[in-house]
C-alpha cells in the first residue's frame, strides 16, 4: 500500500471512528433531549412529575355529567407489599371533591421505601384530574410489617372535554429502597 493511500485511509478512518463515538454519545444525549421535548406545551402527555399537588379550588359542580373513575393498583416486579384501593370504582360529578383510601401493607421484615407512580387512561385526562392530597406525591417509608391507610383527595376539573366518560387511574408501587436517598 502506498504511503499516500495509507495517509488517506488514516484520515478517513479517524473521521468515521469519531462519528461512531459521537453517535454513541448522541444515544445518551437523547435522554435529556427527550425530557426537554416532553416539557413542550403541545406535547400533551402525562409524566410522573406532572402529577403535582394543587391547592383546593372551588368549582361549580356539573350535576349533568357523571364520570366513572376506576382505580387499578399494581406492584412492580416482586415488591413485597399488599396494596389496593378501598373502592374500585366511583361515579363522580366534575367539580365535586372525593377522597379515596388506599390500603398498603409492608409484608417484609425490613424498612422499605417505595414510591407509587400514577398513570392515566386516557392519558390526556391527566391534566384535568387534580389532586389536593396524595400518597403518590412523595416516597413512602414503611416500617417492617407496617400498615398504612393512605388517602387520595381529588377533583375533576369541569373543563374536561365532554367526550370523556371514564377515567382509569392506575398506581404502581415500586420498591425504591436500594435507590432512595431518604433511607
Amino acid at each position: 500500500m502506498s504511503e499516500e493511500l495509507s495517509k488517506k485511509h488514516t484520515k478517513l478512518v479517524r473521521i468515521l471512528v469519531f462519528v461512531a463515538v459521537a453517535m454513541f454519545g448522541f444515544g445518551y444525549a437523547l435522554v435529556p433531549i427527550y425530557d426537554v421535548l416532553c416539557e413542550w406545551k403541545w406535547i400533551e402527555r402525562d409524566r410522573p412529575d406532572d402529577i403535582k399537588q394543587v391547592s383546593e379550588a372551588t368549582y361549580k359542580i356539573d350535576l349533568d355529567r357523571e364520570i366513572t373513575v376506576e382505580f387499578i393498583t399494581t406492584l412492580n416486579e416482586s415488591t413485597p407489599m399488599e396494596f389496593y384501593p378501598e373502592v374500585k370504582q366511583l361515579k363522580v360529578h366534575p367539580g365535586e371533591y372525593h377522597t379515596v383510601n388506599f390500603y398498603a401493607e409492608n409484608k417484609a421484615n425490613k424498612v422499605m421505601v417505595s414510591r407509587a407512580i400514577a398513570s392515566f387512561s386516557p392519558a390526556l385526562t391527566s391534566s384535568y384530574f387534580e389532586k389536593t392530597q396524595c400518597f403518590c406525591f412523595s416516597e413512602q417509608t414503611f416500617q417492617p410489617k407496617e400498615i398504612k391507610i393512605m388517602p387520595m383527595r381529588f377533583v375533576i376539573n369541569p373543563d374536561l372535554p365532554v367526550s370523556y366518560k371514564t377515567i382509569t387511574l392506575s398506581y404502581t408501587f415500586f420498591d425504591n429502597t436500594d435507590k432512595s436517598v431518604n433511607k
Binding site: 493511500l5 488517506k8 485511509h9 478517513l12 478512518v13 468515521l16 471512528v17 462519528v19 461512531a20 463515538v21 453517535m23 454513541f24 454519545g25 448522541f26 444515544g27 445518551y28 437523547l30 435522554v31 427527550y34 403541545w42 406535547i43 400533551e44 402527555r45 409524566r47 410522573p48 412529575d49 412492580n76 416486579e77 416482586s78 417505595s114 414510591r115 407512580i117 392519558a123 404502581t172 415500586f174 420498591d175 425504591n176 436500594d178 435507590k179
Partner: protein, 547 residues
C-alpha cells in the same frame, strides 16, 4: 543503479507470501484476503440462516394447532426473540457484508479491502458475538424471551431474562463493533481505492447502496449500543433511565431503540436493492433504467429512515401532532421506493429477457417486496395502525420485506456470482426447482398471516383462539415446505463448489455481462489476487442513462 537493484530484490522478497492462500485450516483464521473473508461471512451467514430457520420451524410447529403441544411458553418466546436476533444480526447483515467483501473490490477495480486486518477482526468478532448470544440458550432461565426489541420493563424482569440479559447485551456490543468496523472498511475502500477511471457516478449500484448503508451503520449501531448499555446499568447499577420510580420512562427506550431500529431495516434492504439493480439489467440485456434516480432514491430513503422512527410506536401514546408528522413522513418513503420499483420494471420493459434462476429470484423480489411495501403503507396510517399493531399483520408485513426480498436477493446473488467465484456452473434444473418451491411456499407461509392479523391474532404467543386454527395450519405447512426447500440451496452451493455441472464457465459467465460490471472481465474462477494494477477503463453500460 545499485540502489534500484537493491530495491527490486527487496520487492521480490516482500512479494513471496502473496502468491496464494496459506496452507491448511489456519488460512481461514489468519486470512486478510477479501475473497476469503467474503467466503467466511457468506458461509457463516448461511449456517446462521439454518439456525434461525430451525427456530422458525419450532415456532411454526407449535402454532400448527391451537393449544400447547411441543414447547413451553417461555421457550416459545425465546424462539421468537432468538429467531429475530439470529436472522437479523447473524444471517442477513453478515451475508451482505460477505457480498460486499467479495464484490466491492472486484467491481471498483481495487486489489483488496482498504483495511484487510481489521476486516479479519470484524469477522471473528461477529462469530464471538453470535456465539455469546447462542450460549444464552443453555443458561438457567433460558435465552432472552422478551422480544428482539428488548423493551423494558419486561426485559428487566427476572421472569423474562434469567441470567441471559448481560450476555445478550454484550453480544449486541460485539455485533455492533463488528458491523461498525465492517462499515468503516467499506467506506474507506469505496472512497479511496476506486480505479482512477471510476467516478462516483460510474459506480455500480451495489457499491452505491453499500456506501450509503455503511454510513447508516456507523450512525445507528452506536445508538443501539448506548440503549442496551442503559438497560444494563438500569438492571445492575441502579440507574433509572427507564425506571418510572426513579423518574425514568420506558417509552424513552422505545424512542432510542427505534431511532436505531428504523435505519436498521434499511440496512437490510438497501444492499438488497443494489443486488437487484445489478442482476436485472444483465438478464434484461439492457442498461439499468434511471441510474441517477436510483442513486438519489437510495440516498433519500437513507435520509428519511432517520426521521420516521416513531411509526413503530403509534400506540404507546404520542401527541396528535407527532402521530400526524410520523404518519406523513413515513408515507413519503413510498416515493423513492416507488421510483426504484418503476425503474426495475422499466429496465425489464422490452428487454431481451431470459429467466435463469438469479433473474427469477429477482423478479419475485420486485413483485413480493412491493406487496410488503403496500402493507407498510397501510400501517403508516396512524389510526389504522392501532388495529394492526402487534398482530400477525405486522409479522406478515416485515416477513414479506425480509424473506422474499432480502433473502430471495441473497439467493439470487448466490446463483449469480457463484459461477464467477468458483468457475463452476450450478445445476440450473435444481436451481429452478428451488426457486419455484420457495416462491410458492413463501406465499403459503406468509400470506395467510395477513388474514390472521386482520382478524386480531396477536404476535409472540404460543397458543391462540380456535378461530385462527385453519390459517395457522396452512401457514405452518407453507413454513415446513419453505424450510425444507432451502436444503436444496445448501446442496447447490456445495455441489457448485465441488464442480457443479462440469460445464466450463466463460469469463463473463452470463451473456454480455462484461458490459455491466468489471468483475466479469476477470477470469473465472476469480484468481486469489485481482486488480493488482487497476483497470484502465470501466464499463459504462450500467450508467448509459447519465452520459
Amino acid at each position: 543503479m545499485s540502489a534500484v537493484a537493491e530495491h527490486d530484490d527487496h520487492h521480490d522478497h516482500h512479494d513471496d507470501h502473496d502468491h496464494g492462500p496459506a496452507k491448511g485450516l489456519l488460512r481461514w483464521v489468519i486470512t486478510t484476503n477479501h475473497k476469503d473473508i467474503g467466503t467466511l461471512y457468506l458461509l457463516f451467514a448461511l449456517a446462521m440462516f439454518f439456525v434461525g430457520g430451525s427456530m422458525a420451524m419450532v415456532i411454526r410447529a407449535e402454532l400448527f394447532e391451537p393449544g400447547l403441544q411441543f414447547v413451553d411458553p417461555a421457550f416459545f418466546n425465546s424462539m421468537t426473540t432468538m429467531h429475530a436476533l439470529v436472522m437479523v444480526f447473524g444471517a442477513v447483515m453478515p451475508a451482505f457484508v460477505g457480498l460486499a467483501n467479495w464484490q466491492i473490490p472486484l467491481m471498483i477495480g481495487a486489489a483488496d479491502m482498504a483495511l484487510p486486518r481489521m476486516n479479519n477482526m470484524s469477522f471473528w468478532m461477529l462469530v464471538a458475538g453470535v456465539l455469546l448470544l447462542a450460549s444464552t440458550l443453555f443458561m438457567e432461565g433460558g435465552a432472552p424471551n422478551g422480544g428482539w426489541t428488548l423493551y423494558p420493563p419486561l426485559v428487566l424482569q427476572p421472569i423474562t431474562v434469567g441470567k441471559a440479559l448481560p450476555f445478550a447485551i454484550f453480544s449486541v456490543h460485539l455485533l455492533g463493533i463488528s458491523s461498525i468496523m465492517g462499515a468503516i472498511n467499506i467506506i474507506a475502500t469505496i472512497l479511496n481505492m476506486r480505479a482512477p477511471a471510476m467516478r462516483l457516478m460510474d459506480m455500480p449500484l451495489f457499491v452505491w447502496t453499500w456506501l450509503i448503508t455503511a454510513f447508516l451503520l456507523i450512525a445507528v449501531m452506536p445508538v443501539f449500543a448506548g440503549a442496551v448499555t442503559m438497560l444494563l446499568t438500569d438492571k445492575f447499577f441502579h440507574t433509572s433511565f427507564f425506571n418510572a420510580a426513579g423518574g425514568g420512562d420506558p417509552v424513552l427506550y422505545e424512542h432510542i431503540f427505534w431511532f436505531f431500529g428504523h435505519p436498521e431495516v434499511y440496512i437490510m434492504i438497501l444492499p438488497t436493492f443494489g443486488v437487484a439493480s445489478t442482476i436485472i439489467p444483465v438478464f434484461a440485456r439492457k442498461p439499468l433504467f434511471g441510474y441517477a434516480s436510483m442513486v438519489w432514491a437510495t440516498a433519500s430513503i437513507a435520509f428519511l429512515s432517520f426521521i420516521v422512527w416513531a411509526h413503530h410506536m403509534f400506540t404507546v401514546g404520542m401527541p396528535i401532532a407527532g402521530e400526524l408528522y410520523f404518519m406523513y413522513a413515513t408515507m413519503i418513503i413510498a416515493v423513492p421506493t416507488g421510483v426504484k420499483v418503476f425503474n426495475w420494471t422499466a429496465t425489464m420493459w422490452k428487454g431481451a429477457m431470459t429467466f435463469e434462476t438469479p433473474m427469477l429470484f429477482s423478479i419475485a423480489f420486485v413483485v413480493l417486496f412491493t406487496m410488503g411495501g403496500f402493507t407498510g403503507l397501510m400501517m403508516s396510517i396512524a389510526p389504522s395502525d392501532f388495529q394492526y399493531h402487534d398482530t400477525y399483520f405486522i409479522v406478515a408485513h416485515f416477513h414479506y420485506t425480509l424473506v422474499p426480498a432480502s433473502i430471495f436477493i441473497l439467493m439470487a446473488a448466490g446463483y449469480f456470482w457463484l459461477p464467477k467465484w468458483t468457475g463452476h456452473m450450478y445445476n440450473e434444473k435444481i436451481g429452478q426447482l428451488h426457486f419455484w418451491l420457495s416462491v410458492i411456499s413463501v406465499n403459503i407461509l406468509f400470506f395467510p398471516q395477513h388474514f390472521l392479523g386482520l382478524a386480531g391474532m396477536p404476535r409472540r404467543i404460543p397458543d391462540y383462539a380456535i378461530q385462527f386454527a385453519d390459517w395457522n395450519m396452512i401457514s405452518s405447512i407453507g413454513g415446513f415446505i419453505f424450510g425444507a426447500s432451502q436444503l436444496l440451496f445448501l446442496y447447490i452451493v456445495y455441489d457448485t463448489i465441488k464442480g457443479g455441472t462440469g460445464e466450463k464457465v466463460t469469463d463473463e459467465v452470463w451473456e454480455d455481462a462484461s458490459k455491466h460490471g468489471l468483475e466479469w472481465t476477470l477470469p473465472s474462477p476469480v484468481p486469489y489476487h485481482t486488480w493488482t494494477t487497476p483497470p484502465s477503463a470501466v464499463p459504462t453500460e450500467h450508467v448509459l442513462d447519465t452520459h
